[in-house]
């Protein structure tokens, strides 16, 4: 009898069953893929943008499935034409204003004023004034230097030690007092002589008691003078500091004055430079200022120039004012044209606003559409997933059974399995 290895037969049967089941599972997966493709196509169709429309009293606007928008309304041509007409009218007014300004720049009074200014620019009095001003600056500079030097000197004196000065003051005070002290001493001597006390010296006093009293009084006076000298030295120091400050202030004042003069001269130069420039447009725009400069310069030398300059200025101002008025009118007209032109787009803007309002409704529709397709997709996918999971569980169970059978087909040591010899696992 043939000796049948049952263990090996059992393994062979298990492997055959596993292979068959794997094919079944693979087939089922392909079915599932087909189902999901169908579901995807359906969902794509269901979720696609269908477009929408907005109907107002102004127009009927539509949004196509491809996103194109048809507003259904254009600009108001009449209003656009009216705006263009206003703008053109404004431009014409501004041209008039420019013409008026150009006419003002050739104002004879202004020209006459400029001529007079030109004459004034070479005015010898102005030269004299400038020379005097420069001389003044020189003097002020010297004064400034002197003041600053004096300030420095006083400052240095105020910063010196007081002891020497105190001694000097004390010496002067005592020198001033010396005649009086001598007189007092002489009177004292005479009084002592008359009293018969002259020539007496005692140990307690050096001289007489009266001498000592006078010496004490004089010593007190000397002490007082010493202290007063100290106070006077301090006061003097303060006074010197104050004088230094004052001189410094004067120097600074002179410097300021010098700077002011320099600035004045700079202004004069500037004015001259400005006056010397012949840019007509700038002169036209600054006619009044220029005339004022001219008037100022004319005031330095010639009263007539002032009158003429004033007249020129007045006229220029009048011309400028008229030009400004005309320009303003033109601007207003242009503004009105511009506004009218903008109003011609007002219908379109309103339709666009209505479309924006309608866009939320479209969004709501789109959202509902997408939500429905989402639910459908989820349910479809859920069914497929359930089937897949069932297959997966069945395959795992089957696999486990086959694996147990295969394990039992192995030798005691795991290496001498016949099944292993057949299937290279």
């Amino acid at each position: 009898m043939v000796d049948i290895n049952w263990d090996g037969a059992q393994g062979l049967l298990g492997a055959a069953g596993g292979l068959a089941y794997a094919n079944e599972i693979s087939n089922r997966g392909q079915d599932y893929a087909g189902q999901m493709g169908q579901l995807a196509g359906q969902l794509q169709n269901d979720s696609a943008f269908k477009g929408y429309g907005v109907n107002t009293g102004l127009a009927n606007s539509t949004i196509g499935p491809d996103g194109t928008m048809n507003l259904g309304i254009g600009r108001d041509q009449g209003m656009a034409d009216a705006g263009n007409a206003g703008f053109d009218a404004g431009m014409g007014a501004m041209g008039n204003a420019q013409n008026m300004l150009q006419a003002n720049s050739s104002n004879p009074a202004y020209q006459q004023a400029m001529g007079m200014y030109g004459a004034n620019a070479t005015n010898s009095q102005m030269g004299n004034a400038l020379a005097a001003q420069q001389g003044g600056m020189g003097g002020i500079s010297a004064q400034q230097q002197g003041m600053l030097n004096a300030s420095n000197s006083m400052m240095q004196q105020s910063m010196q030690g007081q002891a020497g000065r105190e001694q000097d003051i004390y010496g002067r005070a005592m020198a001033m007092q010396q005649p009086m002290l001598d007189q007092q001493r002489a009177q004292m001597n005479a009084r002592e002589f008359a009293q018969g006390r002259s020539g007496i010296r005692g140990s307690q006093f050096g001289g007489t008691g009266e001498d000592a009293a006078m010496a004490r009084a004089q010593a007190q006076a000397q002490n007082s003078a010493a202290f007063q000298s100290m106070g006077m030295a301090q006061q003097e120091q303060m006074q010197q500091a104050n004088i230094a400050n004052m001189y410094g202030g004067m120097g600074q004042g002179a410097a300021g004055l010098q700077g002011s003069l320099g600035m004045n001269m700079g202004n004069l130069g500037l004015q001259n430079a400005q006056l010397g420039q012949s840019a007509a447009g700038q002169l036209a725009q600054n006619a009044g200022m220029t005339n004022a400069f001219g008037l100022s310069q004319a005031q330095l030398g010639q009263a007539a120039a002032q009158g003429m300059g004033g007249l020129g200025l007045s006229q220029a101002q009048l011309g400028q004012s008229a030009a400004n008025s005309m320009g303003q009118i033109g601007a207003n007209q242009a503004q009105m044209g511009m506004q009218q032109y903008q109003n011609s787009y007002l219908g379109m803007q309103n339709q666009l606003a209505a479309m924006q309002n309608a866009q939320s409704g479209a969004n709501m529709a789109q959202t509902g559409q997408l939500t429905g397709t989402g639910y459908a997709a989820q349910l479809g996918l859920g069914g497929i997933q359930t089937a897949v999971n069932s297959d997966k569980a069945a395959s795992e169970l089957y696999g486990n059974v086959a694996a147990a059978m295969m394990n039992n087909a192995n030798g005691a040591d795991g290496e001498s399995s016949w099944l292993g010899d057949i299937f290279d696992f």
Partner: protein, 563 residues
């Protein structure tokens, strides 16, 4: 026609002493023209002075005797003394002169000697006394239990009564010379005019300056002016007085100092300054010493020619003996002329004398003021009792005054007068008894003013003069003199009896020691003769161990016709 005898009885004749200043004619018989070796005795009579008796017998000095010396004289030039701790000490300066055979002085030494009973004992002096000769004129003063010897140019010497040596003042522990912040003013107190008074020592002549008076601290004679800002002794009240501004005659020099009744009296040679309030606590303090009065053309002739009598200060001026009498208010010092009655005589003697040696001394126990002229060995003596009718004191005159100095001693109820003998080896003398130091008699001499008996125009014929004389101790010889018209050309010797005192248990009655006379006062009649318009009488009595006084004179005369 004969006239009856006129009797002129003069009691206590000349008891007002000499009067040579007023005209002798018509003067009262209470004055005398001569009164030699006389005093106004205790009963107001004119009597003989006491003797200049021997006091010391030995002078021990250590001079080196030169080989060529043939004779040595020792004279006492100065005397001073005082009570040192209860013992009265007398110091004197002994000048020892050595003479050659040509009778020239070849060496002179000076010694300070102390009186030890009858011996003068030399005191050892510090070495190097710069001006030894000046020691002979030293001023010896007593102050606060010490005796100081001040001499010109020499440091002051001090004797404290202990031992036989003296020391310099500058060697004292608390010595402080006059000084101020500029340095020492005088290195030594080397003046020679000293006055201890009012608790201080007052000195002039320091450093040769006789216009300054240095006064010491109170009771500390070694401590002088200290004008430094930080004095050594803060209690020092010594000082200096410069009197040069106050001489009323433009300039003078201090020759003597005196103290009296809170005054410091500064004697110049020709002027006097009177400082008041000298006894104040600190003379230099306010209310201290000040010049109250000054006088010109009056001054002292010498340092020792000034004496304080307790109630007055007397001094010898060129015009005689003067006084600074005080007034009731003590505000000024009018001048009294003490020697008014002998002004001419004493002025002449002063003018002829070595004035620096003139000394004035007051002997209270004898009630006399003695003005000594050593170089002429005479003295004018003023009675310190009542003044005479002229206002001057009663004056007499002494001769045989062989001494240089006088020192009145009074201690614990004992008084004495010591005299510095200037005759060879006589040492110290003393004024007492009736026997002179050399046992020789001196003469008491009296002569009256011219007598006119109230009849100046008529001749006088003196018939007799009765001298009533008080005599004592010893009999003696006398010479009665009389004359006319200012002379005493006639004389007659008389024997003066004396009462011999009986001493208990020394003799018995009937012995010779009792003598024959039983009376102390006896009248001696002298018959006289001659005539003249003015009569004069006199009496010379030898004094040797006896005492006489003229009690009364009775002159009997006839008056002649009118010339």
């Amino acid at each position: 026609m004969a006239t009856p005898l006129q009797t002129l009885l003069v009691r206590a004749p000349s008891f007002e002493g000499l009067n040579t200043e007023d005209s002798p004619l018509g003067q009262a018989l209470t004055f005398a023209l001569s009164a030699d070796n006389a005093v106004i005795d205790r009963l107001g009579r004119l009597g003989s002075r006491l003797a200049f008796a021997k006091d010391t017998v030995t002078i021990n000095t250590s001079e080196t005797v030169l080989p060529e010396t043939v004779r040595t004289e020792k004279n006492i030039t100065q005397i001073g003394g005082g009570d040192i701790n209860g013992k009265y000490v007398i110091l004197c300066i002994v000048q020892v002169d050595q003479y050659s055979k040509e009778n020239a002085v070849i060496r002179t030494d000076y010694y300070v000697c102390r009186r030890d009973n009858d011996t003068l004992t030399e005191l050892l002096l510090p070495p190097s006394i710069p001006q030894e000769n000046a020691v002979g004129r030293a001023d010896i003063v007593y102050f606060n239990d010490k005796i100081y010897v001040f001499s010109n140019g020499n440091p002051a010497l001090i004797y404290d009564g202990v031992g036989d040596s003296m020391s310099f003042m500058s060697a004292e522990a608390n010595w402080l010379p006059p000084q101020d912040d500029n340095g020492v003013i005088a290195t030594d107190i080397d003046g020679d005019i000293a006055l201890p008074a009012y608790g201080r020592m007052w000195i002039s002549g320091v450093d040769g300056d006789y216009n300054r008076i240095y006064y010491s601290d109170l009771l500390i004679a070694n401590q002088w002016y200290d004008g430094r800002a930080e004095p050594a002794d803060t209690q020092n009240t010594g000082g200096i007085i410069d009197v040069s501004e106050f001489w009323p005659n433009g300039g003078d020099r201090i020759v003597s100092l005196a103290a009296h009744n809170n005054f410091l009296i500064v004697f110049g040679r020709e002027s006097i300054l009177v400082y008041a309030n000298a006894a104040s606590g600190d003379p230099a303090a306010e209310g201290g010493i000040f010049l109250q009065d000054s006088m010109m053309n009056l001054g002292s002739v010498g340092r020792d020619a000034v004496v304080n009598t307790g109630s007055d200060v007397l001094f010898v001026d060129d015009s005689g003996i003067r006084s600074l009498s005080r007034t009731i208010q003590e505000k000024s010092v009018p001048i009294g002329d003490i020697s008014r009655n002998v002004r001419g005589d004493i002025r002449r003697v002063i003018g002829e004398a070595d004035q620096e040696r003139i000394e004035l001394s007051y002997w209270p126990s004898e009630s006399v003021i003695v003005c000594l002229f050593p170089d002429s060995a005479q003295a004018f003596v003023a009675s310190a009792t009542q003044p005479s009718a002229t206002g001057g004191l009663k004056m007499t005159k002494w001769n045989r005054c062989f001494f240089n100095k006088m020192h009145y001693y009074e201690n614990q109820g004992t008084t004495a007068v010591y005299l510095g003998g200037n005759t060879d080896q006589n040492g110290l003398l003393t004024y007492k008894g009736y026997t002179e130091w050399n046992d020789q008699a001196f003469t008491f001499k009296y002569s009256s003013m011219p007598l006119d008996f109230g009849e100046p125009a008529r001749d006088k014929f003196m018939k007799s003069v009765d001298f009533t004389i008080f005599s004592l101790f010893e009999e003696t010889n006398a010479t009665a003199r009389w004359g006319y018209d200012g002379n005493l050309s006639r004389k007659k010797a008389i024997d003066i009896d004396a009462l011999i005192p009986a001493y208990y248990n020394e003799a018995t009655f009937g012995d010779t020691t009792f003598g024959a006379s039983g009376s102390t006062i006896r009248r001696y009649r002298v018959n006289t003769r001659g005539s003249g318009s003015m009569a004069r009488i006199g009496l010379d009595v030898k004094i040797l161990g006896n005492e006489v006084s003229v009690q009364e004179i009775n002159v009997q005369t006839l008056l002649g016709r009118i010339n």
